[in-house]
C-alpha cells in the first residue's frame, strides 16, 4: 500500500487547541490557519522575528517539506522573553533543565506562571531556548525566580514586560537584550508548488544482478554484450516521441558508445499494454531510424522483472514510464536506472558508477548534492548498513531457493563489511546445506571471530571438522561449546566419540557420562558408551556390568528388535561370561540385520558370533572403532 504511494490517513488537517482557561480547550484549527492538510512531522517553536509572539517551523513528509508560520497576534497581551545561561560548571551553560517562574505584581490569584527549559520534545523537534511567557493583561513583574539545573535558586528583579532579557546564573541582575532594529522581510507567501517530477536518473547504491536476458540472434546463437562490456537496456515504444529522439541519439553516437564499451539493446513495449493509436511496427521504425544496435520486443515476464528490480531499488513503486533505460555493467549488475530519456554524455559519465565504493555510490545516488560524514565510526556504520541490505537480499534469494544467488549476495555482504556477523553465519549455513564443507568451515571460523560466544556455531563447526576428519580442530570447538555451555549433551557425545577414536577412552567415557546425565534418553550415546565399556581392549576401561545394564535398558525400551542394540547387548553378555545368551542375542541381531539389509552389521555379527560360540568375548582391536 505504501510502496505504491497510496494515501493512508493522509490529508489530515493539523490541529490547534486553544486553552479556554477552565480546564478545557477549544478547537482553533481553522481560525489559527494552522490546519494545513500536510503530513506534518516536527514542530519547532520560536519567536523567530522577536516581535513578542511565538512562531512555528513545521516540517512535513510531503510538499512543502517545511513551513515558517508567523504568529500575527494583535492582542494587547504582554510578553516576556528570557535567555538563560548556566554557570558552566555546576549547571550546564545552556541552563537546560532550569525552571523559571514569573511572579506578577498585581496578581492575587493562585495561578502560577512557570516554564521550563528543555532540549528535545515533540517528535524529532527542538524548540528555541529563549523562554517565552505570555503575561496576559498584566504588565508589572514583581520578580523572576529561577531554579538553575544544579538546584540553586536565584531571584531577578527590575524586569519589565514586553522585553527580552538575558539571565546569567550567579549574576542577580538581568541584562536587557538589544531591541531588534532591522525591518523584517517576511510576508505572507505560501510555499511554491513543486515543479513537476521530470526525468529521473537513479544511480543505485545496492548492486543487484540484472535479469538474465538469454539473448539469441536470428540464427539462434547467443547474443548480447561480450565480456568487459556494458549494456543499456532501453524500453521504448513506437508511439512515444521522446523515445524516438533518444534512439536517434544512440544511433548518432553509436561509435562513441561502442568505443566506451557500451552496447544498447532496444526493447519495444508496443505489444504490451493497451494498443496505441499511433503504434507502428517496431522493426520498421528501427529500420527507418537505421538503428545500429540489437533490438527485440519486451516480453511481459521480462518487463515484470525489470519492474521488480526498479521497485526494489526505488522506494515508490510506480509503473515504469517509457522510455526507461537500465544500465547493466560488465559484471551484470544493474547500475543506473533512467526514467525518461538519457543523453549519451550522461550515460558515458555513468559507466563507472558501479565500480566505486559504497561511499561513492551513496554520494552519487544522492538526488541533491551533499557530503558524507567523515568519521570512522559513521563510515563503518555505512558499510554495515549496506552489508545488512545485501544480506537481506541473500536471505530473500535463499527463501526462493536460489542458493547460488543467495551465496552471491551473502558473499557481497561479507566483502562490503567483513565484520558483519549475520552474513558470515548465513553463508556458513548455506555452504553447509550444499555440502561445501571446507567453505562452510572457513565461514564458521570467520563468524566465530566476530561472535565467539555463539556455542551453537561452535558446535556446528566442531561437527563439521569431525566430518572432515580434522580431529584437533573439532576437539577445540567441542571444548569451546562445553566451556560456554557445560551441559551441552551433544557436544559431550561428539567429543566422546572423537576421544574414543583417538585412544583417549577414559575421557571419552567421562564425556559420555556427562552428556547422558544432561540428556539421559539419548539412545545412540548410551549405546556407544555401552559398546565402549563392553568391548574396549583395556581392562581398565572395560566395565561389562555397566555395559550390560545400559544395553538391557536400551533393548527393553526398544522392544528387543534393533539389531545394533542387540549387538551391543551380546557383546556385554559375552563380557560377563554369559556366552549362550550372547550367542542367542547375536543370532537374533543377525537375523534382524539381514532382514534390514544392514550389510556392515551383518559382517560384524558374523565375525563375533563364532567367538561367542567358542565362549570368547569380543574385544575391539587396540585402536577402537569409531562409533
Amino acid at each position: 500500500m505504501i510502496d505504491a504511494g497510496r494515501s493512508f490517513s493522509g490529508k489530515e488537517r493539523n490541529c490547534v487547541f486553544l486553552n479556554t482557561r477552565d480546564g478545557h480547550f477549544a478547537d482553533l484549527s481553522a481560525g489559527s490557519g494552522f490546519d494545513f492538510p500536510d503530513d506534518g512531522r516536527a514542530i519547532a517553536v520560536t519567536d523567530w522575528d522577536q516581535d513578542g509572539d511565538l512562531d512555528l517551523w513545521i516540517s512535513n513528509r510531503n510538499t512543502p517539506r517545511i513551513r515558517l508560520l508567523r504568529n500575527d497576534s494583535t492582542t494587547k497581551h504582554h510578553f516576556l522573553s528570557l535567555r538563560l545561561s548556566g554557570n558552566g560548571t555546576s549547571s550546564n551553560r545552556d541552563a537546560i533543565g532550569a525552571r523559571v517562574e514569573v511572579k506578577l505584581k498585581n496578581s492575587t490569584s493562585k495561578l502560577r506562571l512557570v516554564r521550563a527549559l528543555r532540549a528535545g520534545e515533540g517528535f524529532l523537534s527542538q524548540s528555541s531556548k529563549d523562554l517565552h511567557f505570555g503575561l496576559g493583561e498584566e504588565s508589572e513583574i514583581a520578580e523572576i525566580l529561577v531554579r538553575w539545573p544544579d538546584g540553586r535558586e536565584e531571584s531577578f528583579r527590575g524586569i519589565k514586560a514586553d522585553g527580552r532579557y538575558h539571565l546569567s546564573q550567579g549574576v542577580a541582575k538581568a541584562r536587557p537584550l538589544p531591541q531588534r532594529m532591522d525591518s523584517i522581510a517576511l510576508s505572507p507567501s505560501p510555499p511554491a508548488e513543486p515543479s513537476t517530477s521530470g526525468p529521473a536518473r537513479i544511480p543505485v547504491v545496492t548492486l543487484l544482478r540484472a535479469p538474465k536476458l538469454n539473448l539469441k540472434n536470428s540464427k539462434g546463437s547467443p547474443a548480447g554484450p561480450g565480456a568487459g562490456r556494458s549494456l543499456l537496456v532501453n524500453l521504448w515504444a513506437t508511439w512515444c516521441a521522446p523515445c524516438l529522439v533518444e534512439l536517434a541519439e544512440f544511433r548518432d553516437r553509436a561509435d562513441d558508445l561502442r568505443a566506451a564499451g557500451v552496447d544498447v539493446l532496444a526493447l519495444s513495449v508496443d505489444a504490451l499494454g493497451e494498443a496505441q493509436a499511433k503504434a507502428r511496427n517496431p522493426s520498421k521504425v528501427l529500420a527507418e531510424l537505421k538503428f545500429p544496435f540489437p533490438s527485440s520486443q519486451a516480453t511481459a515476464p521480462l518487463l515484470a522483472a525489470f519492474q521488480d528490480f526498479h521497485d526494489n531499488l526505488v522506494g515508490l513503486n510506480q509503473p515504469l514510464p517509457v522510455p526507461t533505460s537500465f544500465l547493466i555493467d560488465p559484471q551484470g549488475h544493474l547500475a543506473v536506472i533512467y526514467k525518461g530519456p538519457v543523453t549519451t554524455e550522461r550515460l558515458l559519465a555513468d559507466l563507472h558508477h558501479s565500480q566505486g565504493t559504497v561511499d561513492q555510490r551513496l554520494q552519487r545516488a544522492a538526488q541533491v548534492a551533499g557530503s558524507l560524514i567523515a568519521n570512522p565510526i559513521v563510515s563503518k556504520s555505512r558499510r554495515t548498513h549496506e552489508a545488512s541490505i545485501q544480506y537481506r537480499y541473500g536471505l530473500a534469494q535463499r527463501a526462493s531457493n536460489d542458493l547460488e544467488g543467495a551465496a552471491y549476495y551473502l558473499t557481497a555482504a561479507r566483502h562490503t563489511d567483513p565484520d558483519f556477523p549475520p552474513a558470515a553465519q548465513e553463508l556458513a549455513q548455506l555452504h553447509l546445506s550444499t555440502g561445501e564443507w571446507a567453505k562452510a568451515a572457513a565461514e564458521f571460523e570467520s563468524y566465530l571471530k566476530l561472535r565467539s560466544n555463539d556455542f551453537a556455531a561452535h558446535h556446528q563447526l566442531a561437527q563439521l571438522h569431525s566430518r572432515l576428519r580434522q580431529a584437533q580442530k573439532a576437539r577445540t570447538h567441542f571444548q569451546e561449546v562445553l566451556r560456554l555451555k557445560p551441559d551441552h549433551a551433544l557436544a559431550h557425545f561428539g567429543l566422546a566419540a572423537l576421544l574414543a577414536s583417538k585412544s583417549e577412552p577414559k575421557e571419552a567415557v567421562s564425556h559420555y557420562r556427562a552428556g547422558l546425565s544432561a540428556q539421559p534418553g539419548n539412545a545412540l550415546a548410551s549405546n556407544n558408551l555401552a559398546w565402549l565399556l563392553a568391548t574396549h581392549p583395556s581392562p581398565e576401561i572395560r566395565e561389562p556390568e555397566e555395559a550390560h545394564r545400559l544395553a538391557i535398558a536400551l533393548n527393553e525400551e526398544t522392544g528387543n528388535k534393533i539389531p545394533n542394540l542387540l549387538d551391543t547387548l551380546a557383546a556385554a553378555q559375552a563380557g560377563l561370561g554369559q556366552f549362550e545368551a550372547a550367542a542367542a542375542t547375536a543370532r537374533r541381531a543377525l537375523s534382524l540385520a539381514e532382514k534390514a539389509g544392514n550389510l556392515q552389521l551383518v559382517t560384524g555379527l558374523k565375525s563375533r558370533l563364532p567367538l561367542y560360540e567358542k565362549r570368547e568375548a569380543f574385544l575391539e582391536p587396540e585402536s577402537p572403532k569409531t562409533p
Binding site: I2, G5, F8, S9, K11, E12, N14, C15, L18, D27, G31, S32, D39, A42, I43, D47, R61, T63, P64, R65, L68, L69, S73, I96, G97, V114, G120, E121, G122, F123, L124, S125, Q126, G134, L135, R147, D182, L186, P188, P191, P194, T196, G198, T206, P211, L235, L267, S295, A305, V314, G315, L316, P319, G340, A366, A369, G370, S381, R392, S400
Partner: protein, 613 residues
C-alpha cells in the same frame, strides 16, 4: 506504459496506459536484425520492508458494519455539501425525520479575548421538541448565508463515524445508529468560524438504496469564532527561504517525489523523518534552524538574517550530510558558550563541535540501535554537562522489520523494538567531547525496547532532578523517575502508561498550578473506534485486551500532574482528536499566559485517498 516527454518546461507528461497484469506475451520475434530473449530470469530478490502489520482496509475486511459505515459516510459527505451549495435535503431523509438545530439555541460564552470567542452548548433541554427537515434546511441555509465569501480553500466540513450499532431486535429492519464527530469551518468575510460537534444519527437502511437519516441529535456543540479576518498564522515560507537554491530544488518536493528516485534503506524512510532543531549557532542573538533529511538528501542549516529571512549554509558549515538523519539538537555540549550539534542518524549519534560560530566539526560518533528517532538532552546526574537520550524504533538488524527472529510482535504491547540509549557526557577539553553509554547502569535498560519515537525530560515530581518520559508505538510508554541518577519506570503507578501509539511527548503547565502536565500524541482512528466497539471484535478475548485496542484508537492524551501521579483528562479537556498525530507542543499562541496546543498530523498523503482511517 506512460510516455515521458521532454518538453520546454522539463515537465513530465504521462499517458494513462499502463500494462495490464494479464497481458498476453507478444508473438515471437520477427525482426531480422533483432535478438530474441527467452526465459528471462524473474528471480528478483525481494527484501522490501514487511508491512503486514498495517491495519486491514475496513471496507473489505468482511465487517458488515463497516460496509454500513461506508454507506453512511458517503451519505454524510454528500449531505454536507449543502453547507456551501444549494440543494435539497429530502433525498437523504427518511420519513418522520427529526432533527435538532445544528447550532443549538442556547450557547454559553466560555471564552473571549481579542483573538476568538468560544461558545459551547448548554445541556440539551429534553423537553424541547426536535424539529424536522425544515430545521435541517434552516441550519444549512444559515451557514450558506455566512459562508458566501469563503474561498474554496477556507471552507471545510468533515464527518467521522466513531461508532455504529444495531439493535439486535431490529436487525431485519436494516436500521442502525451512528455516533458522528462533525466539524465545519468557513470564512464570513470578517471572521473565521468553526463548529465542532458530536451527533447521534439514526439511520434507516435498505438493501436497494443508500441509508437515510431518521434523526440527528446534537449531543455536544462548540463554536469558535475569530475576531479577525486573517488567521492567526501567516505562512511566510517563501519569503523566508526562496532565495536559497535548495528551496526549490529540494524542499518544495515531497517524499513521494524523492521515493520515486531514492531507495528505501530503512523502515522509517517512507514515514519521513524531517527533524527540526532551533538554536543560535553563530551567536548573533537570532535563532537559526537545522533541518534533518532522509537518506540521499542533504540536511540543511538555515542562518537567520537580520531581516528574518534564512540563508542556507549547510555545505559551508560542513553539515550538508546525506546520511539518513532523524533528529537534531543545537546545544552547548562542551560548556564553551556556543551551540554544538547532536544528530541521530541511522545507527549513530553524531556529535559535532561548533568551531568559532563558523562551522561544525565532527567530534565523535557513538553507535546506537539502527532505527534512531527523537533525541532529548538533560544533565541527569547534575554534574554540569548535558547528557543525551536517543530513542530507537524498530529492530532492523537481521532482515526483519518486525523484530529480531524469534521475538513475538504484540500489537498492543510490543516489547521487541530497538533499544534506546542514554549517553553520559564525560566532559570536554581540548576540542574533544567524550560520551559513555550508561543505559543499563542507570536503570534505563528496563522496559527499553518498546518502539520509541520520542522522549522528553522534565522534573515531574519537583524534586530537583530531571525525569524522563518516553513515548512508544504499539503499547505502553515509560516514565522514568530519576532517583539520584538511577531511573525507575513508574509509568503504571503514575497513571501515564498511555497504552497506544505514542508518537511524541510535550510537557507544560496548562492549568497553571505550577506542576508540569503531559501531552502525548497518538493516533486517533474513527475506523479503529468503530471496529473495536463491535461485539465480534476479538470476541474470544478478555475484555481487558479489547479495551486496550479501543484505547489505541482514542487519540492524543493529556495528563494533569497531581504531584505524585497524573490524571487522564484527555476527553474532558477535548484534546484527544489530534488525528494521526506526530509532533505536539504546548505553545501560548495568544500570550494570555495559558498554554495552548499545536498538533502536526497526517500519515501518508497522495492523490489516492482510499486508505484513510
Amino acid at each position: 506504459m506512460s510516455c515521458q516527454e521532454r518538453n520546454d518546461s522539463g515537465g513530465h507528461a504521462r499517458s494513462d496506459q499502463t500494462p495490464s497484469k494479464d497481458t498476453t506475451p507478444p508473438p515471437g520475434v520477427q525482426e531480422s536484425a533483432s535478438a530474441a530473449q527467452e526465459n528471462t530470469s524473474s528471480a528478483v530478490p525481494n527484501a522490501r520492508t514487511d508491512q503486514s502489520w498495517m491495519l486491514d482496509d475496513p471496507g473489505t475486511d468482511g465487517w458488515e458494519s463497516e460496509v454500513l459505515a461506508q454507506q453512511a459516510q458517503n451519505q454524510l459527505k454528500s449531505l454536507g455539501s449543502l453547507f456551501f451549495e444549494e440543494g435539497e435535503v429530502a433525498d437523504y431523509l427518511a420519513s418522520n425525520f427529526t432533527c435538532d438545530p445544528l447550532v443549538p439555541n442556547h450557547l454559553q460564552r466560555v471564552f473571549e479575548d481579542e483573538l476568538a470567542l468560544v461558545e459551547r452548548s448548554a445541556p440539551r433541554d429534553p423537553a424541547a421538541p426536535p424539529g424536522g427537515a425544515a430545521t435541517l434546511t434552516a441550519s444549512f441555509e444559515a451557514v450558506r448565508a455566512h459562508a458566501q465569501l469563503s474561498p474554496n480553500d477556507r471552507r471545510h466540513f468533515e464527518f467521522k463515524i466513531t461508532a455504529l450499532t444495531r439493535d439486535p431486535s431490529a436487525l431485519s429492519s436494516g436500521d442502525f445508529q451512528t455516533e458522528v464527530l462533525f466539524s465545519l469551518s468557513f470564512f464570513t468575510g470578517k471572521t473565521i468560524v468553526e463548529h465542532h460537534a458530536s451527533w447521534a444519527i439514526a439511520w434507516s437502511g435498505s438493501d436497494s438504496e443508500p441509508p437515510k437519516l431518521k434523526s440527528i441529535a446534537v449531543k455536544i456543540f462548540a463554536r469558535t469564532t475569530t475576531k479577525r479576518a486573517q488567521p492567526l498564522f501567516s505562512d511566510v515560507t517563501a519569503s523566508a527561504l526562496a532565495s536559497n537554491p535548495s528551496y526549490s530544488s529540494q524542499l518544495t518536493h515531497g517524499m513521494n517525489h524523492w521515493l520515486s528516485r531514492l531507495p528505501v534503506r530503512a523502515m522509517l524512510n517512507r514515514f519521513g523523518t524531517p527533524g527540526l532543531a532551533v538554536g543560535d549557532v553563530n551567536g548573533d542573538g537570532l535563532d537559526d534552524l537545522y533541518l534533518c533529511q532522509e537518506p540521499g538528501l542533504p540536511n540543511r542549516l538555515f542562518l537567520q538574517q537580520a531581516d528574518g529571512t534564512a540563508r542556507e549554509v549547510a555545505a559551508e558549515w560542513g553539515v550538508d550530510w546525506l546520511e539518513d538523519s532523524r533528529a537534531a539538537l543545537l546545544l552547548d555540549l562542551d560548556n564553551d558558550g556556543d551551540q554544538d550539534l547532536a544528530l541521530t542518524i541511522y545507527g549513530n549519534l553524531v556529535i559535532a563541535r561548533n568551531v568559532g560560530g563558523m562551522r561544525f566539526e565532527v567530534a565523535t560518533a557513538l553507535p546506537t540501535s539502527s532505527s534512531t528517532a527523537s533525541l532529548a538532552a538533560a544533565d541527569y546526574d547534575r554534574d554540569g554537562w548535558l547528557d543525551l537520550f536517543v530513542c530507537a524504533y524498530v529492530q532492523e538488524d537481521g532482515g526483519s522489520s518486525m523484530g529480531a527472529t524469534g521475538e513475538r510482535f504484540v500489537y498492543h504491547d510490543a516489547k521487541n523494538g530497538a533499544a534506546n540509549s542514554l549517553f553520559h557526557n564525560e566532559g570536554a577539553s581540548g576540542g574533544k567531547i567524550a560520551f559513555r553509554e550508561v543505559t543499563s547502569s542507570t536503570g534505563l535498560g528496563i522496559n527499553n525496547r518498546r518502539w520509541s519515537f520520542a522522549a522528553s525530560w522534565e522534573d515531574f515530581d519537583h524534586d530537583g532532578d530531571q525525569d524522563l518520559y518516553v513515548a512508544n508505538d504499539y503499547g505502553r510508554n515509560n516514565l522514568y523517575r530519576n532517583d539520584d541518577g538511577h531511573f525507575v519506570d513508574v509509568a503504571a503507578a503514575a497513571g501515564v502508561e498511555d497504552s497506544a501509539s505514542g508518537m511524541s511527548v510535550a510537557w507544560g503547565d496548562y492549568n497553571r498550578d505550577g506542576r508540569m502536565d503531559l501531552y502525548v500524541s497518538n493516533m486517533f482512528s474513527a475506523a479503529g473506534s468503530r471496529i473495536t466497539t463491535q461485539q465480534q471484535f476479538k470476541s474470544g478475548t478478555a475484555p481487558a485486551i479489547r479495551n486496550r485496542f479501543l484505547r489505541f484508537a482514542r487519540g492524543n492524551s493529556l495528563f494533569r500532574n497531581g504531584g505524585e501521579s497524573f490524571q487522564d483528562v484527555s476527553l474532558a479537556a477535548n484534546v484527544n482528536l489530534g488525528r494521526w498525530a506526530w509532533s505536539s507542543n504546548f505553545v501560548d499562541l495568544n500570550n494570555d499566559a495559558w498554554l495552548d496546543l499545536v498538533v502536526a498530523n497526517g500519515y501518508l498523503s497522495s492523490n489516492d485517498e482510499t486508505g484513510d482511517l
